[in-house]
Symmetry: C2
Subunit: 97 residues, 2 copies
DNA sequence: TTATATTAGCCAAATATTGACAAGTCATAA
DNA sequence: TTATGACTTGTCAATATTTGGCTAATATAA
């Protein structure tokens, strides 16, 4: 899990404990542990709060968090890359319109 | 919705009615209508069955169906394209390993 | 009008997600 | 060894979301 790995890196490099982050997010430590390990998906607002606490880029963390969800959808699908390409194209079209 | 649009095209070009497809899928017509219009998400097995009934490419329809789900996740997100890129990279790495 | 095709809205059943708790592992200190 | 602290795992109930079907509305054609 890209998001979990990244926030763990950030947390550890700052010498923070899971329970400190968890308290800030108003969830318990086991829950935060699961988020870091990818067993649970963070909510969007939690991502923002984590970015704030860890003084990290909101954009970076959101992108990783979204990427995890995309991966979840396409894993084990032969058409994974094809689907990504189609989505990309479609979004680009929507943007330029 | 890419998937819905495509199956509607295929269905109409073959002169089939929603209720015929719906019967085959063992759902009612309103439900099939919603799938075509994107109000409801088809199940994976329904996608396969639709491909079979419409004599269409299973791969094509699965790709469109996945793309719709990806779009759903990233719509309204500034990091949409960035997230797609990250997911793409990650999947490629997993494939080549 | 009537008949047929499609769509919209609503409801209950089924399913998934969420957060909390208790108990577990692992490493280190006393 | 025991004790402690950090983290992880498993399970549970509460909540939220999704699913499918029903009924009714709309549209289109004969």
């Amino acid at each position: 899990m890209l998001f979990g790995e990244r926030i763990r890196e950030l947390r550890e490099s700052q010498g923070l404990l899971q329970r400190q982050l968890a308290a800030n997010l108003e969830i318990d430590t086991p829950m935060f542990s699961k988020i870091e390990r990818g067993g649970r998906k963070a909510k969007r607002e939690q991502v923002l709060k984590i970015a704030e606490i860890l003084k990290a880029s909101e954009q970076e963390l959101l992108a990783l968090w979204l990427a995890d969800q995309i991966k979840e959808i396409v894993t084990d699908e032969d058409q994974a890359l094809q689907a990504l390409k189609i989505a990309q194209k479609d979004i680009n079209q929507a943007n330029t319109k």
